[in-house]
Amino acid sequence: MAEITLVEAVNLALAHELARDPSVVLLGEDIGANGGVFRATLGLKDRFGAGRVLDTPLAEAAIAGLAVGMAAEGLKPVAEIQFTGFIYPALDQLINHASRMRHRTRGRLTCPMVLRSPCGAGIHAPEHHSESPEALIAHVPGLRMVIPSSPARAYGLLLAAIRDPDPVVFFEPTRLYRLFRQAVEDDGVALPLDACFVLRGGTDLTLVSWGAAIHETLAAAGALEDEGVSAEVIDVATLKPLDMATILESVGRTGRCVVVHEAARSAGFGAEIAAGIAESGLFSLLAPLERVTGYDVVLPYSRLEMQYLPGVARILAAARRAMKFQ
């Protein structure tokens, strides 16, 4: 079984579905000969032809709108927005159309599309290339919001996203694209789109995160272990619909919870998890909930981005506060 990177896992899943389902079509900027600016679609145009892998003009609203039209007409478009910083012109189509097509036509027309986009900071990219707008998507009824944090989950979740009969937004953390390799079998087995993943069991503290921040969270859990603290780490993976049950079960056991995400804090998706606990797990809490997030500031240019990101030290500080709380 080959050890591959996350971006290779994305490529593998796309190839798998292109081969399996003739209605799958990829579209986006520079995804053809160039194989995508991160090479997520490398070789796919050569292998599946220009009729399956479409280089679009530079127009994100059109990319999303094309996908809506294709999906309603029976294709399974997998659209790429080159960076999440350029997804905003596509939001209108996602919110006003993709999410509603099935509902407003009472199931007559549907929108089985995927919108992939590389997200997140930490790769010293130019401005607008490091955004994490997942909370915006997760607020929209009718959409699904998925962010993998490992090659295996990228593969399995992307298969599931493409096979899902409804629109799925799929963010791929650029910081993880080539961070590490993992054995991934091209077995076509999808992962569930309605479940968190418990990456590490623990009894004293629940750490909840998703995307690239999972890795600082896991590192923090490792450091906590050295301090004698057993931290459970949950990768939310699918933010919408949210598997709150897994989180509540964990917090019910540990009584302490730190949520970690890269996006700005206010009205970030961490708030939804905190709210879910305050509603349904309140009295299991032994310490105040903590959020370790990007600050509520404009994402700084690259020289300061590491100061902005929730690093291991900040996660550890919050975890220690939670553990010390009496």
């Binding site: 039209g69 007409e73 099935r102 509902h103 407003r104 009472r106 027309l109 309605d194 619909p241 598997d243």
Partner: protein, 361 residues
Amino acid sequence: MNVVASFQVERLEFLGAEGELLAPLPDFARDPEKLVALYRAMTLTRLFDARAVALQRTGQLGTFASSLGQEAVGTGVASAMREEDVLVPYYRDHGALLWRGVTMVESLLYWGGDERGCDYAGPRRDFPACVPIATQVTHAAGVACAMKLRGEPRVAVCMVGDGTTSKGDFYEGLNVAGVWHLPMVVVINNNRWAISVPLHAQTAAATLAQKAIAAGIEGLQVDGNDVIAVHEAARRAIERARAGGGPTLVEALTYRLGDHTTADDATRYRSAGEVERARRLEPRARLARYLERAGAWSGAAEERLRNECTERVEQAVREYLAVPPPAPAAMFEHLYAELPAALRPQREAALRAAGGERERG
């Protein structure tokens, strides 16, 4: 300076304002039966439309967008489509929807605030009316792209308003259609107003057809009050698209005789004189005059048609009014193919809340 490119915008018209012929009729129009069919459809559209406005005025319908005076556009275009083509309409396309087989009950349900009105029993693949301006143009391009990729001889036909041409996605859609050579036709209902904004405040372009030039596609203007011209222009464009000839932009020059919607009061921003002048150019009377002169229409036929249409409209209104409101559970139906487990508690809460309301009510 050297000239490196030149362009012309042409206008197509056959019937003058008095129903007189301005040019030799195209083939299809030589058969009076064909024209009578268009006339009947325009008449039904107009009566349906007026009845819908009346329903709104009496609180039996939500906000409604009348197509008064623009019936030749929808009827002319839809009648040039094949059944297997896909219509991607906007909210003022009653004539096109009726021709495509959307029922009046469905339309009334839609405007009455009931999603079931978009579940067309007839044209299953046609899109529901688009409200966010211009967003439908890229849908049509997507539909056309699907058709082209599958090698199907089908065409996506998209309807937009004049104000719509100012919005970015209108242009993005045309540009993609051009470079991908898609089987798509975009028809502009240029009714000269976008709510209160007249065309001259919308764009400095002398014609809307010339917006095609930016996308490198075919564009032409037609007299949108001349159903023969609209049908002929649409027919040529659709058949060219079907044959692999690429997309066309058709600008149909007409006029919005009514308010923007029932929520609007057009007297606030335009003169009665302008409306009166435009009324003299309206499409139904013009076709009637032509047909009468051609011996294909009569006062008696007109009366029969009106009665028949009124009866059909009233029947639809009765059926519409008899439809009970959707159950609260409908909010959770068709949200996803299957309701995610995370949403079940909300659904139950909604049903409980609705039950409570009912108990108290």
